[in-house]
């Protein structure tokens, strides 16, 4: 099939229809309804399943079949349809086949008139979609209950409902050579750094993806450096979170077909913040925040420190604890480091199995893993109880900061290896690598470790602590403050 991207619409209706059939290769869902409109041959094209029958009947079929104009020519009819009739709120014109198919496959009704070199399109989308529901990945107690769904326009409305200011700009454009996915760029144009928007647009336009089926397709194009352990692009399922971030001068990207919005730039400290933090009392939030930072360190380092200290620096361990540990390890067949890695790997296997299996079976996996394998491994002496306790605390700690779960999982094992071989010296070495790696992370010129490194004292009010809104309201904070 020849390239139709820049091929303009043929004024001859029959040739036009032939060409459309040729391009779509007679696809069953492309419905072509030919009729005459005040004596001019016309055709209404829809994609089956993408339009609402009642809407198309009421808004388009009824009004246009009733048009009875005398001495009419195609240009006059086009003009009449455009200026006299308001058939749909979402109207447009397709000049070429590329646009025609994009509209058609997005749920628009396409009206072709004989003699017209363009097609009129009317938004009558009515495809089945998931309704707004609570986000599964970012549960909270007191925040809003609605989460993004798969439809980009619905997601746009969820954000718009929360931010009625005209300064919120939403730019919708297609991306992906084949999928022609609708991408919506959202930002507060009075707050966002202009270079950030243009750089994001450049990056998105430079992608040569055939399809964009999830946020993960675009993320690598928005990241600055390869080899960064921590994400420099954040995703959210919550419109309230995205709105809050837009207010801070960030850019949000909504992708049709995925309930996750991308937000750039990302700061690592955001991983420790939730919408609930802004609902609870500041002193409680401060406590929870500090707890989260400590838990992050526990999740990352506890098994490694346990292994390193037990093997290389036992004088650091509490005497009683050391004796309990020595007794528990008396009959263990494996070395402490191997045992720790083994327990973590088994956990990862169980987690992955539980995640991919149907919910009903997933439950039984947990039972088998928790009760049978865990209990049997301990009672057979394969794994010691202190080791199991330490790894369990570490794994649970990882859930407190779910955003960082991926780096935590990998680094936890790496730290165990380093600690097992080189003790605290190894942990220090790897720790340096991780610190340097995290500090080198930049998202469009914004250091991901800001406002801790580089240190911004003013921003500390919402990092380790959370001051009251009385103090925060006067801030007018935008992320531009962190740009280096």
């Amino acid at each position: 099939m020849s390239d139709f991207k820049n091929e303009t619409i043929n004024p001859d209706l029959q040739q036009n229809i032939r060409r459309i059939k040729e391009i779509s290769d007679g696809s069953s869902d492309v419905m072509i309804n030919e009729f005459t409109l005040s004596g001019i041959p016309a055709a209404l094209l829809v994609c089956e399943g993408m339009v609402a029958t009642s809407i198309i009947t009421e808004l388009i079929l009824d009004p246009i079949t009733n048009i009875q104009l005398s001495n009419i020519t195609t240009p006059k009819l086009m003009d009449y349809l455009n200026s006299e009739l308001l058939l749909s709120l979402d109207r447009g014109e397709a000049k070429n086949y590329h646009d025609l198919f994009r509209f058609l496959n997005s749920g628009f009704a396409v009206l072709l008139l004989h003699g017209a070199s363009s097609a009129l399109v009317y938004g009558v989308q009515g495809y089945d979609k998931r309704s707004v529901s609570e986000p599964t990945g970012e549960s909270n107690v007191m925040g809003a209950g609605d989460g993004f769904a798969e439809t980009v326009r619905m997601n746009m409305s969820l954000v718009r409902r929360r931010m009625k200011t005209p300064f919120l700009k939403m730019e919708l454009f297609p991306l992906g050579e084949k999928s022609q996915t609708d991408i919506c760029l959202c930002y507060m144009y009075d707050r966002v750094p202009k270079e950030l928007v243009s750089e994001i647009k450049n990056r998105l336009n430079s992608t040569e993806l055939e399809s964009i089926l999830s946020s993960g397709y675009l993320q690598p194009f928005l990241e600055n450096r390869r080899g960064c352990l921590f994400d420099t692009v954040s995703t959210t399922q919550r419109p309230d979170v995205m709105t809050a971030k837009l207010l801070e001068g960030r850019v949000g990207i909504l992708i049709d077909g995925t309930p996750f919005a991308i937000v750039v730039p990302k700061l690592m400290c955001e991983s420790f913040q939730t919408m609930d933090d802004y609902c609870f009392r500041p002193y409680y939030t401060t406590f929870i925040r500090i707890l989260k930072y400590i838990t992050f360190l526990i999740a990352l380092l506890l098994p490694a420190l346990y292994v390193a200290v037990s093997l290389h620096h036992p004088e650091l361990l509490n005497r009683t604890l050391l004796l309990i540990l020595a007794k528990a390890e008396e009959n263990a067949p494996l070395s402490l480091a191997v045992e720790a890695i083994g327990v973590l790997l088994v956990y990862e296997i169980i987690r992955e199995a539980g995640l991919r299996l149907p919910k009903a079976v997933g439950g039984s996996v947990s039972i088998v893993a928790g009760l049978i394998i865990g209990d049997a491994a301990v009672s057979s002496g394969l794994i010691s109880t202190p080791m199991l306790t330490v790894t369990a605390i570490s794994v649970i700690g990882g859930f407190v900061v779910p955003d960082l779960n991926q780096p935590i999982t990998i680094l936890r094992i790496a730290f165990i290896i380093a600690g097992g071989i080189l003790g605290l010296f190894g942990i220090g070495l790897l720790g340096s690598v991780v610190i340097f790696n995290a500090c080198a992370g930049e998202s469009f010129g914004f250091p991901t470790t800001a406002p801790i490194a580089p240190f911004k004292r003013r921003s500390m009010r919402d990092v380790f602590t959370r001051v009251s809104f009385r103090k925060m309201q006067s801030g007018n904070f935008t992320v531009e403050e962190y740009n280096e």
């Binding site: 200290v309 080189l422 010296f425 340096s432 080198a440």
Partner: protein, 339 residues
């Protein structure tokens, strides 16, 4: 290369100085504390030409662009030598620490590899990391204070020692290798023309850190001090934040972090200056690190300490050279005004 701010410059230099403090291997006493204070005052005076120079709009990069390579070469040489000396400090220090292996070359290679990685990420990553490590250092000092508090005895301050204030000043000045680093780092700061004197905050901060640790060493270790090879390490072994177990191994993490930061700082700056001198030269960081390790092996073999050389080089690089630049700049400006 990105610009760095005043606090980042302070933390970078402070941490470099903190590593020297950790590896301090001379007996200390109240006279040493006095000597340290005076030496910091002297360092402050030595910095004045640097401040004036940058206030007048001096740029080392522009100077190199003008085809002048001798002075940058001197700095590169100095940084490589100091990097090598840092490796020696690590080897010597690791004898006191409970490392799981005793081969110094493995320690050097592992640290070298990490430093190479850190240096490859650039100065921005380095200065940001230094902020985080400064936080870790602060927490460590607090833990050290808590542990040392029980054993602190201010009566020990009155114990006489064989140390002289003059000797302490000389000893302390030989460790002041942050001054040449300060001169080069000032090239990357973003407030040179506004308030360059703000960058000097690293000296009072460093003084507070040194004096705090020295105070702890004297009051806690007391009569054990004269026999201590490394006062800081002995202090960590007797300061017990926990009831019975000793916690000195914990400080190993800080030791590694500081050591990596210090060597990375020398590597980054050397590699950057080498880049200015030889723009086509590749693998500058690796080359610098290899030269540092080579220097360390050489110095280790001949048991070189070089404190007099150190003082002279610090004086030349951080005082004489800035003054020469100041004079040149003045001449250049007056010539410009005339024409």
């Amino acid at each position: 290369m990105n610009k760095i701010n005043c606090s980042q410059l302070t933390t970078s230099l402070l941490l470099s100085s903190a590593f020297m403090l950790m590896c301090l291997s001379t007996p200390v006493g109240i006279e040493y504390m006095a000597g340290t204070a005076i030496s910091f005052a002297i360092q402050f005076l030595l910095c004045i030409p640097i401040i004036i120079l940058y206030k007048k709009g001096f740029s080392l990069s522009a100077y190199c662009d003008g085809g002048h390579y001798f002075i940058p070469c001197l700095f590169v040489l100095y940084f490589i030598l100091r990097g090598g000396m840092s490796f020696i400090l690590v080897w010597n220090g690791s004898e006191e620490l409970s490392l799981p292996f005793s081969a110094p070359l493995i320690t050097a290679v592992l640290i070298g590899v990490v430093c190479f990685y850190a240096a490859s990420l650039g100065l921005s990553a380095f200065v940001r990391s230094s902020t985080i490590v400064a936080g870790i250092l602060a927490v460590t000092i607090v833990v050290l204070l808590i542990g040392a508090f029980q054993r602190m005895d201010t009566m020990e301050l009155s114990q006489s020692t064989d140390i002289t204030v003059a000797g302490s000043i000389i000893q302390n000045l030989s460790l002041a290798d942050t001054l040449p680093v300060f001169f080069v780092l000032m090239n990357f700061t973003n407030n040179n023309n506004k308030k360059p004197y703000k960058s000097l905050i690293f000296l009072p901060t460093g003084l507070v850190l040194w004096e705090t640790v020295l105070f702890l060493c004297i009051t806690v270790l007391g009569s054990l001090l004269p026999t201590a090879k490394y006062p800081f390490f002995l202090l960590t072994s007797v300061s017990q934040p926990f009831s019975s177990q000793r916690a000195d191994s914990l400080y190993l993490i800080l030791f590694v972090l500081l050591c990596i930061l210090r060597i990375t700082l020398f590597t980054v700056l050397s590699a950057h200056l080498l880049g200015m001198i030889f723009p086509k030269l590749k693998f500058r960081s690796v080359l610098t690190l290899l030269l540092m390790i080579g220097t360390a092996i050489l110095f280790g073999m001949i048991s070189y300490t070089g404190s007099i050389f150190s003082i002279i080089s610090i004086f030349i690089l951080s005082f004489v050279i800035p003054i020469i630049f100041c004079v040149q700049l003045k001449k250049h400006n007056s010539w410009k005004e005339k024409t």
